[in-house]
């Protein structure tokens, strides 16, 4: 019989020294010719910034390959300098930021392609479990329109919460934990 999983508990307010001592918010150097910056603010249900959250990202490289043994598509290159994992705290203004590369498309269910996206976990005091969301890219209109997950979200406003905004210098991805503008969050089937 499969063992029962260990329950999640909140990250609490005191994780910074243990989890953020090393800066892992830069997946590539800002000088990398294809570097992009993704920046955003985490807001609570009162519209106040959340200054004690931790945001983690996981993504494929620009070729669409994940640096993980389960992705054994040998025809796609791996880049040993790009792990695809990043971690950022939020500052006093609730802001997090990452410097990374835009991922390539990833394989989806039933042989469909997924639009390029970044997996996101959000941890904070007051969150008994992490929140999971995704960042999609504003310059991928065609791929986004065909993405099976985005298509499954009927409310266009809700769907739009998953697509970063192009601010010229950087991409903006704000997270609203609650309220009318709440970001779409995911759960995994059991």
């Amino acid at each position: 019989m499969a063992p029962e999983t260990t329950p999640s508990q909140t990250i609490g307010p005191f994780f910074h020294d243990a989890l953020l001592a090393e800066d892992r918010s830069r997946l590539v150097s800002p000088d990398h010719p294809s570097a992009i910056r993704i920046e955003g603010t985490v807001y609570d249900g009162a519209g106040e910034p959340v200054p004690d959250a931790m945001v983690e990202i996981w993504q494929a490289n620009p070729a669409g390959r994940y640096d993980h043994p389960a992705d054994d598509r040998e025809d796609l290159p791996l880049d040993e300098d790009f792990s695809g994992f990043g971690r950022s705290g939020t500052d006093a203004g609730g802001k997090f930021s990452f410097v990374t590369l835009e991922p390539g498309p990833a394989p989806g269910p039933d042989g469909q392609a997924q639009a390029p996206h970044v997996m996101v976990s959000i941890f904070a005091r007051g969150l008994l479990k992490r929140l999971v969301t995704r960042i999609y890219f504003p310059d991928e209109e065609e791929a986004n329109a065909a993405d099976p997950l985005l298509r499954s979200i009927e409310d266009p406003g809700f769907r739009k919460t998953l697509i970063a905004r192009d601010e010229g210098e950087y991409l903006r991805f704000d997270v609203h934990l609650q309220g009318e503008d709440q970001t779409a969050f995911f759960e995994f089937p059991g």
Binding site: A18, E56, G84, L131, S152, Q178, F186, E187
Partner: protein
């Protein structure tokens, strides 16, 4: 009394899944932070059956001994915490990063926001990390953390606990939890512990005293196994 099902967990009650809900009014910080709109079910794809291995950076050997990070020994009851990390099929999760953090023996964190008037310990910062071995085992030497007050409700105290952060085999298996100590008198009034409504699941957050791990004339031993969501994929299974 049965709790109302809340958003999440694919329509199952949190009580059944053994996971806490997002919204749990007794824990006041959930009030403005718990999502209210229904969660969207994320079909399994390579985006989440892969995940950060985070085991490729060298870990300093002493990182799993929180009693030897400074010149002197920290005050408090020296303990050894050890256990195994398993996937949803009960298979060992190898070479996987575990990060921990905790209060010192007096119940104080080395964190600028911790205002509890208990002493800091110059020989203890409460942060450690290690990798699991080939059997999924990990081991930390530390001191038993103290209970500490917080402002959630009148005369609120957190039971002694150690925070653990684990990656496991994929994005789906990522877990942050807290390990508690057996027989703590503060369990009954702690809404974070009680947010897990299933009593059997609550037990899975409590370590067990273990005489075999206990080292004579040195340190008490506690065992704490962790079971993560998801399973270790083998390349064959992705086709």
């Amino acid at each position: 009394m049965r709790q109302q099902p809340s958003v999440g967990d694919a329509g199952r009650r949190e009580e059944d899944t053994g996971q806490p809900p997002y919204s749990y009014p007794d824990y006041r910080s959930t009030e403005l932070r718990a999502p209210e709109k229904p969660l969207i079910i994320l079909p399994k794809t390579l985006s989440d059956t892969t995940g950060p291995a985070y085991g490729r950076d060298p870990i300093d050997k002493l990182d799993n001994d929180l009693t030897r990070q400074y010149g002197g020994e920290p005050l408090g009851e020296r303990i050894i915490v050890t256990g195994r990390v398993l996937d949803g099929d009960g298979r060992p999760v190898r070479n996987s990063l575990i990060e921990i953090w905790q209060a010192n023996a007096a119940g104080r964190y080395t964190h600028h926001n911790d205002q509890h008037p208990a002493p800091l310990d110059p020989n203890f910062d409460g942060a450690g990390r290690c990798l699991t071995d080939d059997e999924g085992r990990y081991r930390f030497t530390t001191v038993k953390p103290g209970a500490y007050p917080w402002k959630n409700h009148d005369n609120a105290w957190r039971p002694a606990h150690i925070h653990l952060s684990l990656f496991g085999p994929s994005f789906r298996s990522r877990l942050i939890t807290q390990m508690y100590f057996p027989g703590d008198p503060l369990f009954g009034q702690d809404p974070i512990f009680q947010s897990v409504r299933n009593p059997a699941a609550r037990q899975r957050m409590i370590s067990t005293f273990d005489l075999e791990t206990t080292e004579p004339e040195w340190a008490l031993g506690y065992r704490f196994d962790v079971v993560l969501e998801g399973r270790i994929a083998t390349p064959m299974e992705n086709h």
